[in-house]
């Protein structure tokens, strides 16, 4: 998927006026937040449960190299094959080679964010191998050729009428209907047929357990289980940070993931695979390939502060709570990852110079931080990135800020230690600002502040600042 993060403002302007997105955004996030609260209330101590999750993820990232090697060793012992991909290209080429060697015409896919990131579907399609998304939402998004609107519900905003039309055209829906059960059934029949003859399945990974070499998938539709169990060849793609030390850790993270994501105590399906089908087993793939993708994450790991973004377990609680996401939805972020988790991750994966809007389009309200089960401090990272951007960081990138802004802050910093100058500056600014005021209210200022005044006023600058009024207040005492 080609990143469009530099088009943020353009996409925002479009989405703010997209009636479908707006209609959806008014309704869904509050419901998701409520479900999450109800789900979390089943913990005896919510804060402790969240903090435990954060500690697990913090430890996992701190021990990342060691845990990955441990995981590989155990996965190999289980009979899986492990491939380390340095970047998206290596991962895609390897998977393509596997598919070609086996002569497969198509693959079924379980929902996987990392393959959205690497653009695997495009590569497979270009090489004549059709990727069928089997997650219902992902299937709809794929048919519409849209990026995910939400990392958990990629097509959650698509109205049912549109789903009906796509299914009529592309999924053998016989009679037009708006009944969700019938629509689901049509998709099921259509995809079931794909599963029957599938040679190769590709899924993501929610957790990779170092101590057992097990890969875990959490889902509600059963399509990932199908994709993992039906074909002869199964490919599981994971980014390096998915590893956790122990099965006990993984189980706690599953509790947190489900509650924070959909408010469920447990999703309908959780599948754990330790290697391919063994001799005496009746199902499972004959061969299992685990592709471990770096794609810029080792670089993130090297930075002690930034590495916390790798803790993310993709629950999307931060999207649902985010007041900015709540206005603009997922398309505006321009890539696979959206909302606050995307705003902290994308800049490091794509470069700070290409993603300025992502870490600046936030009020630093910290709603994301307050819900994160992995303990990520998003606002602090936004400030970290902004600083790196301003100083054009040699490691993560950055783009020089507008000259006018740089000049402003230089002058500002010069005056800040000189109260006489500071107060003089205020005195001199007053007539310029207040020339726009009528009866103590400014309704319009031309120039770069004009946008504020489209829907908002500003009180005129006080004739006497507090600083000036203090002289009288002092006497009153």
């Amino acid at each position: 998927m080609e990143p469009r993060t530099e088009k943020f403002k353009e996409l925002v302007a479009r989405e703010l006026h997209n009636p479908l997105s707006q209609k959806f955004l008014k309704v869904m996030p509050p419901i998701q937040n409520m479900k999450r609260s109800i789900g979390l209330s089943t913990f005896p101590d919510i804060e402790a449960a969240q903090a435990y999750g954060a500690a697990i993820r913090q430890e996992a990232i701190a021990r990342l190299p060691e845990l990955l090697e441990h995981f590989e060793k155990n996965a190999l012992a289980n009979g899986a094959q492990v491939f380390w991909a340095r970047d998206a290209q290596e991962a895609n080429e390897y998977i393509l080679k596997l598919a070609k060697e086996r002569g497969v015409k198509y693959v079924t896919k379980g929902k996987s964010m990392v393959t959205e990131e690497t653009g695997l579907n495009e590569v497979l399609s270009q090489n004549g191998i059709e990727p069928w998304e089997t997650d219902l939402g992902e299937f709809i998004a794929q048919q519409l050729n849209l990026p995910p609107f939400h990392i958990v519900g990629p097509a959650i905003n698509v109205p049912v009428e549109e789903v009906r039309d796509i299914f009529m055209a592309k999924a053998n829906l016989k009679e037009p209907t708006l009944d969700p059960v019938e629509l689901g059934y049509a998709a099921r029949l259509f995809l079931r047929d794909k599963f029957h003859h599938v040679q190769m399945g590709i899924t993501g990974v929610n957790m990779a357990v170092a101590e057992t070499g097990t890969i875990i998938n959490v889902e509600n539709e059963g399509n990932i289980r199908y994709t993992k169990a039906s074909p002869r060849t199964q490919v599981s793609v994971m980014s390096i940070e998915k590893v956790v030390p122990t099965m006990k850790d993984a189980l706690h993270l599953i509790r947190l993931l489900c509650r924070n994501c959909t408010g469920q105590k447990l999703s309908a399906y959780v599948s754990m695979d330790s290697g391919p089908k063994k001799k005496d087993e009746i199902d499972g793939p004959e061969e299992l390939f685990i592709v471990i993708v770096d794609n810029g994450r080792t670089k993130i790991y090297q930075d002690l502060k930034a590495r916390q973004v790798l803790r993310c377990i993709r629950c999307a609680a931060c999207l649902n709570i985010c007041p900015v996401y709540g206005q603009i939805g997922g398309y505006a972020y321009g890539w696979a990852y959206s909302g606050p988790m995307g705003q902290v991750l994308n800049p490091l994966l794509l470069g700070l110079e290409k993603t300025q809007d992502l870490y600046r389009a936030t009020t630093l309200c910290a709603a994301c931080k307050s819900v994160c089960p992995a303990g990520i401090d998003h606002p602090s990272l936004f400030l970290y990135y902004r600083h790196k951007d301003v100083t054009v960081d040699p490691y993560f990138g950055g783009k020089a800020r507008p000259a006018q802004e740089i000049r402003f802050f230089k002058a500002w910093a010069w005056a800040i230690k000189r109260p006489w100058l500071w107060n003089l500056g205020i005195k001199m600014a007053r007539p310029f600002i207040n020339k726009n005021a009528r009866e103590g209210i400014i309704r319009q200022i031309k120039g770069s502040f004009a946008d504020w005044f489209r829907q908002r006023d500003l009180p005129a600058m006080a004739e006497n600042t507090f600083h000036e009024r203090w002289k009288n207040l002092k006497k009153e005492a």
Binding site: E405, P419, R443, R456, F466, H467
Partner: protein, 245 residues
């Protein structure tokens, strides 16, 4: 006798000085002696938020030089207090001497309602107001300082007041300093939602503790619903105390 040093945010100094005056009068009426360092300028939050940490450090050094000896610092703003309390120590991560000074001051600075309730142990300031009010939970007061109960206690102790629930009270109003400037359209949609919730609450007056939110929500009200009132909690308590007296 209690003595506090008053730290006035730029927004209050320039645009909302009556909030500063109200803070002084209210504190004095509660027997607190207030002093104001005339050398104070800005805490550095605009530079910090824009990514100019070197410039923010200069502001922090000035602040620490001016306020360094004060035993208690009070400010009618949550975000400025967060800047001093949390970001100053971070800014001097690699400078032990300034970091020590920053940490000392960090432990002695309070947001206005926090000081009243947690330090002064005052809830009833002797104000009365008949009508319905709603309270907007400003992000830096609520999630930054974990202050939420304190302002509500102060409001509920006002004679005759009815504190009504505000839907999505803890959702950001869309100010965010430079955010409202760089992303005015998103900011505008956010403040519109905030005001819709205020209108739906049935309150006669919206109260809050953050001057930035006041400029934002107040600015939208002034343009679109000029009859709807909004006040900083300090002004509310001081004004309705004075009227009674």
């Amino acid at each position: 006798m209690n003595k506090v040093s008053l730290f006035i945010p730029c927004t209050v100094d320039l645009f909302l000085p009556h909030i500063g005056e109200a803070t002084v009068r209210l504190l004095r009426s509660l027997g607190v002696s207030v002093f104001y360092h005339e050398e104070q300028t800005c805490c550095g939050q605009p530079a910090m938020n824009a990514g100019y940490q070197k410039e923010a450090q200069k502001a922090a050094q000035h602040f620490l030089e001016v306020f360094g000896e004060d035993e208690i610092i009070v400010s009618p703003s949550g975000s400025c207090v967060c800047m001093v309390k949390y970001h100053y120590p971070e800014l001097f991560e690699n400078d032990p001497e300034w970091r020590r000074r920053a940490e000392e001051v960090a432990s002695r600075i309070y947001e206005f309602s926090q000081f009243l309730v947690d330090v002064l142990h005052v809830e009833d300031v002797g104000a009365s107001f008949s009508g319905k009010v709603a309270y907007h939970e400003s992000c830096h007061i609520l999630r930054g300082l974990k202050v939420s109960v304190q302002p509500k206690k102060l409001i509920q102790a006002v004679k005759g007041v009815e504190l009504v629930p505000l839907n999505a009270a803890d959702t950001c109003c869309g100010f965010g300093g430079e955010f409202a400037y760089h992303y005015a359209d998103i900011s505008e949609s956010m403040v519109k939602n905030k005001v819709e919730n205020y209108l739906a609450s049935g309150a006669d007056l919206l109260l809050l503790g953050e001057p930035g939110c006041l400029l934002n929500i107040g600015g939208y009200l002034s343009r679109n619903h000029p009859q709807k009132k909004i006040m900083h909690l300090a002004s509310f308590l001081a004004d309705y105390r004075r009227e009674k007296a």
